[in-house]
Amino acid sequence: MPEENITVNAVRDSFRESLAGASTLQELDEIRVKFTGKKGSLTQLLRSLGKLPPEQRKSTGQEVNTLRDEIEHELDQAGKRIRDAENEKQEISQRIDVTLPAHGRTSGAFHPVLQTMHEIADIMQGLGYSVASGPEVEEDYYNFECLNVPPWHPARDMQDTFYFADGTLLRTHTSPVQIRSMLKYGAPLRIVCPGKVYRRDNDTTHSPMFNQMEGLLVDKNVPFSVMKGTMSEMLNAFFGKSLRYRFRASYFPFTEPSMELDIECVECSGHDEHCRVCHGTGWLEVVGMGMVHPNVIRAGKIDPDEYNGFAFGIGLDRMAMLKYGIGDLRLLFDGNVSYFMSGFGGAEKC
């Protein structure tokens, strides 16, 4: 028995030695012939089995078969390895410059104002506000009269208006949507109305068209403190940080009491007296708001003795300008792709 074992082991050792020295497919073929060919050492080993006594034949036969499997497996493996190595040489010869420009289109860019509109609408949805909309060409009644601004009222001077020949007008705020929503849904109500509004104003800080989002909450016993909490939720979520803010008493015909909200300057937090955003005041006026005037609630066919609420209005353009650091309002509306792409790369910067 020991003799035969030594023979099997000797063939294995010899095979491994040969294989270790092989580096081409041709050498591999030669090894295959040398061991498994008709005259190969493995074949001879098989043939020698017959000479063994019957009681050893079985166990030795198994060992030889195992060795044959091993040899075939290792030859296959070695073959793959060598082929892969040869392929890789060829692949390296096909090397490309991965820094060349991409084929096809690369991504475009969002408009900061519309992005802002969607962001704030999402935030407000989380606070339970639905989005309502209404026409941009509006009736005087919805835009002014039922908002407590009759035709003679000096508050009309606050909003210089574009008119059409039939007396309709381009809405000067999205407040008409508040009235339309109260009439449509009644109370309690939580809505925001984003959209374009128009005023007859054109200079460096005013555009005849701009974007606004107003909000309205109507319910029973609504306190000012809830409006305050809502404003800080909204603004903190939008700017992604906790901001200091302050309220100033103000006047709007459709709210009573009315106030304006200033936030700490998002650019300098009040630390730069030459700040280009707040001009050194440290504060930015961003929201006008107040408790809805009972006449307005009444115009919405809701009983002001039972319900009250608050309303607010934000300039989306201004919010976008603050968040995205845009200096000139007029850049927003001329469709210049170079400006919008500049925020994301676009043309290669040098």
Binding site: E136, L170, F247, R248, A249, E256, V337
Partner: protein, 804 residues
């Protein structure tokens, strides 16, 4: 509204408050009257003093100049001037060597032909007092000026002016008196004062002049009063008054007119002074204008009137547009001797209507439309006559003539603890009553948790409980109130169809390389011509703004295309040479009979760029690139999309398609008309525009599993006339499979080759398709597939196709 710190002291004792103008400004700003600026009128002035001209001589070498010897309180100074209006003994302002003028100019010495001049004597202009006096002469001071007194302490030269933005509800704040009352409310420890000229005046004499009746048939005139002053000498007003007027933004004119302006600024009551002898008749009637009546106003304009306008007439002739503007002929002139002062009270609604309609925003109209306290018409008239006496030397103790209609009396307003505590989360009723009292709103009834308050006649804006709450809120400030969210969980909120659709569009197109833009809703008047729209095209009849800022922003857009073309133009002009891909989503405005609709459109534009060179060869986009974008937009919303050859006047005649979603036409796509491209100096612009309203509903996708039986693939190649579209051919192939009656399905049909040229007759092309047949119930045999496919070939031949 400009507020003078010095004049404020006439109405309120602010000294004990130890208040700076800046502190007052902050308090006013937070309580609702935003202070926009604070101006120190003396500016950088330093070392300017009053001086007396002790001696005056002509310059021996140049007669243009005079040499003055000035007593400046600290010695005699020599000063050369080219001014002519002074004489020996006059008092002037003198800025000596080293003194600094309000604008920062520092004075030195100057040699005038051998005479050294030390500093200079000043004109009003050099003191920063525009309009106060002739800028070419010296400002001659009254006799009471003492040499050596600092200029900034004399005649209100050194004042502090606050520019306060007054909200439209607070007409009462358009005067020093009103501001003083407001400050009293904000600082309860302060005390109000009454200036000397506002004290009652004995006026009991009958008029020395004939005067008939004042009649007020128009109830919009609440009260009308006339005061008489005889023996007037029209000249300049006292220097301090002139400086006050100038600081408050009014040009001094003459003593009589200045009195009316001064009283208006101090008390808020607009007044009018006229020469009694220029009145057409000795009577006054205030009546509504007749429809179509005309009047020439003081500004020389002919005004067409309506029944809502109110006229002041005399002898049937209109002399003023009530509360808005005077007429041309009754003004004060240098020879006026007998002055009549008008003090009236008008309906804010009526004055507001007239001034808004005619676009006249005079000081009077501005105040009347914001409500002037009706109680003022009496006291202001008395104050004005007192000042006329003082400034013009007239006799004024005549009893004023008056007529009155119903004057609106203030009505009581109730404040309840319940509402106060709901609104402000604070409910100290006693404290609240104290705050209101400070603003002159007095408690008239105390029922504990419900109290009744009477606003003063100067505060017609206080009519409901919320108004009282606002007074309390703005006094206390809003910054200390707690903050919280509504207690209960909100009902499910819906971001709404239009926001969802908008999010879908931008989430689809932006990753496909489009940049989102936002352009104006108004277009130039001539946009329909530029787009070559037929006159009867609905898009050629836009809504047109009656009062546009310019003709470039006049017509409401009926299509988004012009905005995108402008965006392309601006992009290229700004130096962008790469591909341009932009889209806009927004409303267009379509006339629909008497009314209009505002459908939501999406439009896109792609342009290969000014410089299309690329290391990877030509990768230009074309119709089929924009088609992919539209397909992506519509199919991923769950709709079947079809492109059918179409026509638009502004599009390429051979490369334009109409777009259909589930058979409904949404819009157009294709190449811009080359002539329009040329006008833009570009080539190869592809655009689309669709009405997305029909895509509002997002369809759910319906998934079908792949069949577990194998598919069989066959190709077919057809000779097709150029006039026949790929869609037509595919339709025919599908129809032929259907017509075969087989239960085998044509699972897919795909065009894989187009060929024309050698071997293909002119006007034809060869289209090759791959068909995939499959059964859901069994594995197909070769024979079954062959039999079906041959059948299809035969039926196509029968339809006239040449099968290759």
């Amino acid at each position: 509204m400009l507020i003078s710190w010095e004049l404020l002291k006439n109405f309120i004792d602010i000294e004990p408050l130890n208040l700076t103008p800046e502190e007052l400004a902050e308090r006013l700003t937070f309580s609702g009257s935003e202070v926009e600026s604070i101006t120190y009128t003396a500016g950088k002035m330093k070392g300017v003093v009053a001086a007396k001209i002790n001696a005056l001589e002509a310059h021996s070498k140049d007669a243009k100049y005079s040499i003055a010897h000035l007593d400046t309180g600290t010695g005699i100074h020599v000063c050369v001037t080219s001014a002519k209006n002074m004489k020996k003994g006059d008092n002037v302002f003198y800025a000596g060597e080293g003194a600094i003028l309000p604008d920062g100019t520092e004075l030195g010495t100057r040699d005038f032909h051998g005479v050294m001049s030390y500093g200079m004597m000043l004109s009003a202009e050099e003191l920063g007092l525009h309009d106060v006096d002739d800028p070419s002469g010296l400002l001659i001071l009254p006799n009471d000026a003492r040499p050596g007194d600092k200029a900034e302490s004399l005649y209100h030269v050194g004042d502090v002016i606050l520019d306060v933005s007054i909200t439209p509800n607070r007409g009462d704040l358009l005067s020093l008196l009103g501001m003083a009352r407001e400050i009293k409310g904000l600082y309860p420890k302060s005390t109000l004062k009454t200036p000397e000229w506002l004290r009652p005046l004995k006026q009991d004499k009958e008029w020395s002049e004939e005067f008939g009746k004042i009649s007020l048939p128009d109830k919009g005139c609440y009260a009308y009063r006339l005061g008489l002053a005889t023996g007037a000498k029209i000249s300049d007003s006292p220097l301090t008054a002139k400086i006050d007027l100038a600081h408050l933004g009014m040009r001094p004119i003459n003593n009589a007119v200045d009195v009316t302006n001064y009283v208006m600024l101090m008390l808020g009551q607009p007044l009018h002074a006229f020469d009694l002898n220029t009145l057409p008749a000795r009577e006054i009637t205030v009546r509504a204008a007749h429809e179509g009546e005309h009047m020439m106003t003081l500004d020389g304009k002919d005004r067409a009137l309506t029944e809502r306008d109110m006229l002041i007439t005399s002898g049937g002739e209109a002399i003023a547009l009530a509360g808005v503007m005077g007429g041309e002929q009754t003004g004060i002139n240098d020879d006026t001797n007998t002055i009549v002062i008008e003090s009236a009270s008008f309906s804010p609604v009526r004055v507001g209507h007239t001034s808004r309609r005619l676009g006249i925003n005079s000081e009077a109209a501005f105040r009347f439309s914001r409500t002037v306290d009706p109680a003022l018409s009496k006291s202001a008239l008395m104050a004005a006559t007192t000042l006329i006496r003082d400034w013009c030397g007239t006799v004024v103790d005549y009893k004023p003539l008056s007529a009155e209609n119903d004057i609106h009396e203030p009505k009581p307003v109730t404040l309840t603890r319940k509402k106060l505590s709901v609104y402000l989360s604070w409910d100290n009723m006693n404290e609240a009553a104290k705050i209101l009292d400070g603003f002159g709103i007095s408690q008239v009834k105390d029922n504990g948790d419900s109290r009744v308050f009477m606003p003063p006649s100067s505060r017609p804006d206080i009519t409901i409980e919320e108004d009282l709450i606002e007074e309390i809120g703005r006094f206390r400030g809003y910054n200390e109130t707690e903050e919280r969210l509504p207690g209960e969980m909100p009902k499910r909120a819906d971001i709404g169809d239009s926001m969802r659709l908008s999010a879908f569009v931008r989430n689809t197109l932006i990753p496909r390389g489009y940049t989102e833009v936002l352009t104006y809703s108004f277009l130039p008047e001539d946009f329909p011509e530029k787009l070559r729209l037929n006159p009867d095209d609905i898009r050629a009849k836009p809504l047109t703004i009656s009062n546009p800022i310019s003709r470039d922003q006049m017509s409401m857009r009926t299509t988004l295309l012009p905005g995108l073309l402008e965006g392309l133009k601006v992009s290229i002009a700004s130096g962008w040479r790469e591909p341009v891909r932009i889209f806009e989503q927004g409303r267009v405005f379509i006339m629909d009979g008497d009314s209009h609709t505002e459908p939501e459109h999406v439009a896109g534009l792609i342009f290969n760029g000014v410089d299309t060179r690329s290391p990877s060869g030509n990768r230009n986009e074309d119709f089929y690139s924009i088609k992919a974008d539209i397909e992506s937009l519509i199919t991923s919303r769950g709709y079947r999309v079809d492109f059918v050859s179409g026509h638009e006047n502004f599009m390429h005649a051979g490369q334009t398609a109409n777009i259909f979603a589930d058979g409904v036409k949404l819009g157009y796509a294709g190449r811009l008309k080359p002539a329009i491209e040329q006008e833009l100096d570009v080539s190869g612009v592809y655009v689309f525009e669709i009405d997305v309203t029909n895509l509002t509903e997002a369809r759910k996708p319906a998934f079908t599993p792949a069949s577990s039986f194998p598919a069989s693939f066959r190709d077919i190649s057809l000779l097709v006339a150029d006039t026949k579209s790929n869609d037509d051919v595919m339709k025919d192939i599908r129809q032929c499979v259907k017509d075969s009656g087989s239960d085998i399905t044509l699972e897919s049909l795909r065009l894989f080759d187009i060929y024309s040229g050698k071997g293909i007759p002119d006007g034809f092309r060869s289209l090759a398709y791959s068909l995939s047949y499959r059964s859901h119930t069994k594995t197909l045999t070769v024979e079954e597939v062959e039999s079906l496919h041959n059948g299809v070939r035969e039926s196509l031949k029968a339809k006239g196709y040449v099968v290759r």
